[in-house]
Amino acid sequence: MFNLLGRFSRFVLSLLLLSFLLGPARASDWSDPEQQLAQKITAITGPGAVSLDLVNRSSLSQADIDGIRSTLRNQLSAAGLTLVNPDQAAATVQVSLSENLQSYVWVARIQQGTNQPAIEIVSVPRVEPGTPLREPAVLLIRKIQLWSQEDPILDVAVIDSSPPHVIVLDPNKIAMHALEDGQWQLEQAFQVPHSRPWPRDLRGRLVLRKDHLVDAYLPGIFCSSAPGAALNLSCRESDDPWPLASEQVTLNGFFSPTRNFFTGALAPGIGQERTVPPFYSAAPIPREKYVLWVLTGIDGQVREVDGVNVQTLSRPGWGSDMASTKTSCGSGSQVLVSSNSDGATPDTVRAYEFPDREPVPVSQPVELGGRITSLWTESSGSTAVVVSRNWETGKYEAFRLTIACGQ
């Protein structure tokens, strides 16, 4: 069932995910509130000549505003009102499209003669905005939204199966969802037991396996599914090291059970190096005879470790998270690096190559909707999953990042 090379190609899966997940980001359906507001206005004015003015005080797009104005006019006309200029109107109606934290707030102020104006209010839950993509430079980072939820997302794994599945790791549980009839259905969910409180800035990683479905790594906890396709998980307290890249490149790092970083102890090590300074993330760059590892240290330094030498780079623009990808573009190996933004702009991810030891940017930064909380290479090694917390909605959003060859 969960054959990674199943009959659904990644392309089809991506399209499915894209078509499902981008659905809510399309222009919204305002028919219910339009109808409600038109009815409320009509109930006050009755049939007759009215003027209608619409003012936008919200973040709605011009297309939405134009659509709302047009539909509202049609609804009022259909209800027997004649829309005229203010000087010919028995009642003037000013509709304000406003908003608060959770809702769009549409307010009709209806003035009839010298009476106190009547106020009618309709509120509409806010919809989530879409996220724009940027144009590429040399290589293009494509992002496809995989999942979105209010609780933090630590990692997401996509299972290329029929039907497609996603596994979502959050601080409380590991949940598997299946795409059925265009809707994600929760199939299984397992609580993650932990006797100690989770550390802040909690991190976790999912790794799909060949002989069983998935392993999940959390600080001080390891969960593994039983052999077979189902998500039968068993979890235990463990200080086993976490895989630092994909299955193709084997290096594991010990993760602090009470902090948010790798301690620096490695298994089996990079050449002769068994320990390195504590770090947040690591990315391998395969060379002909060795693997160059790039590590983001907790001291803000970026280190390149080849098994013999440790070289320190100063990259103040780099954040703490990196993920390596194997692609058919450029040198065939890129490292996706999060930005160390000043907080004035949403975090970004940019692809770099390492022709020698000096990183060279090979893509434009791709913008996430807020701050990045996680970036891991997917089990295939060719893509990465990034999680960010959307500034506008406060929700956590997981995206698959794929590198496409540019012009």
Binding site: N100, V105, F261, R371, W391
Partner: protein, 455 residues
């Protein structure tokens, strides 16, 4: 009316101040130094309520938790309660407690302890301690009870003789009433150990001394008055700014304004030149307010007038043959309030009224400043009216139309004239990371970490 865009609001509260968490992961360790003006004499949230609402909440949140919290989008989140349920009618609520949480004296959080804590601040509630949960029964339906439980006064406190104990992210390591508070990270905090090792708060520090300490690199976090915020930012200093959530208003202290009083108060409201006060006294900060609650919380505040119309003010004044001289009181220690009061008196004179600012006692009018600590409009309106001694809004549901009518009725009662909504500002050292400014100006010092940047 200024065009309002929540995305801009999010930007102002989370982004433009340059304080949001960047993609550099947090580091552990260090002491965060804070200087504030307040001088609390007790750490009990019930006593902290005597301070301004923002300071009360911020100090309380270091040591105590509430059953639930509210995020920046007004959504209720689990805290000491893992989940909750309102029975049909919203008159009985049940909250299941998070297991394994301990007070800082080592005793476990139990339903009995939670019930005892909540009973102390809410004598009208009937609270039952059940196996792993508590149930709250109310005299009348309250759809916003969960939002109300996020208020600091509903912090879960274990009160012992001469001592209060909490379950918060920090524990008291040095407490000198009204002078100094030092708290240390709680290693076993259920929400994760804070990144900093400790927070040292110097209390009773004047605004000038706070600024000096910041200049000398002796403190990481200070308060900045709204009228100072823009200038401070323009000087290249790091300033965080919340959404506009502090209400500045005139409150008429007579319980029942007579018809003549109402006409004079109408005239007074029309004589207030909010734009000029904003530009001159507030140095461009804050938003003119027509409503008690700001537009970003309700979405309808723009319906309430902020019009400055001296001709209309004079006409309204002329409808009353004899206008008594009113006194206007304000906090004498608050220079901004004093300046605004003087400005209001000047304009009232142009309208034909005599308003005399006084520095002691309670006047016929009071210039008040009160902060909203909830972004839930129902809770916020109830809290503000209680703080200002106004009649409770009498809400039974939580729909926006009812809220609008209730707020309209309060304004039409002529007991209050809203003037401005101001943001809460803090000055931060460059070393402060992951500040994550909240719209409500709330601190989340458990999430803050210290970088190596020099002041």
């Amino acid at each position: 009316m200024r065009h309002f865009d929540l995305r801009l609001l999010a930007a102002s509260s989370l982004v433009l101040v340059g304080l949001a968490h960047a993609a550099r992961r947090p580091q552990y360790g260090g002491t965060l130094h804070v200087a504030i003006a307040s001088t609390p004499s007790s750490l009990d949230p019930a006593a902290l309520g005597q301070l301004d609402a923002v300071t009360c909440r911020n100090l309380s949140s270091l040591l105590f938790d509430t059953l639930v919290t509210m995020d920046d989008f007004g959504r209720i989140r689990p805290a000491l309660a893992l989940n909750w349920q309102a029975h049909p009618g919203n008159q009985r609520w049940q909250f299941r407690l998070r297991p394994g949480v301990a007070f800082d004296d080592g005793s476990l959080l139990t339903p009995g302890a939670v019930a005892a804590s909540l009973r102390a601040g809410n004598p009208n509630w009937t609270i039952y301690a059940l196996d792993d949960s508590i149930a709250i029964e109310l005299n009348s339906p309250d759809p916003s009870l969960a939002a109300e439980l996020t208020l600091p006064k509903n912090s879960i406190v274990k009160r012992l003789p001469g001592k209060v104990s909490g379950t918060g992210p920090f524990r008291v390591s040095d407490w000198q009433p009204a002078k100094k508070l030092v708290v240390a990270a709680s290693e076993d905090y259920w929400g994760g150990r804070p990144f900093v090792n400790s927070v040292e708060i110097t209390l009773g520090t004047s605004a000038r001394d706070q600024m000096m300490l910041r200049e000398l690199g002796k403190t990481d976090l200070i308060e900045i008055a709204p009228e100072q915020a823009r200038r401070t930012a323009m000087e290249g200093r790091r300033v965080s700014e919340s959404a506009a959530l502090e209400l500045v208003a005139l409150v008429f202290t007579h319980q029942q304004p007579s018809p003549e009083d109402q006409k004079l108060l109408d005239a007074l409201a029309l004589s207030v030149d909010r734009a000029a006060i904003k530009n001159v006294l507030l140095q461009g900060g804050g938003d003119p307010a027509g409503g008690i609650l700001p537009n970003w919380i309700t979405g309808y505040e723009f319906l309430f007038s902020t019009e400055f119309n001296m001709v209309a003010a004079q006409q309204r004044r002329a409808e009353v043959p004899y206008a008594p001289a009113w006194t206007l009181s304000c906090d004498p220690a608050d220079s901004l309030s004093r300046l605004i009061a003087e400005r209001l008196a000047l304009k009232a004179k142009d309208a034909g009224m005599t308003i005399r600012p006084i520095s002691t006692g309670i006047g016929d009018l009071r210039l008040v400043r009160t902060s909203l600590v909830s972004v839930n409009p129902r809770v916020a309106l109830t809290q503000v009216t209680a703080a200002l001694g106004l009649p409770p809004p009498g809400l039974s549901g939580d729909n926006l139309e009812e809220l609008y009518k209730s707020e309209s009725a309060l304004l039409e009662s002529h007991r209050i004239i809203p003037l401005f909504h101001l943001p809460v500002n803090y000055g931060l050292s460059p070393a402060v990371k992951n500040w994550g400014e909240k719209r409500t100006g709330a601190w989340d010092l458990g999430e803050v970490w210290l970088g190596t940047e020099k002041p």
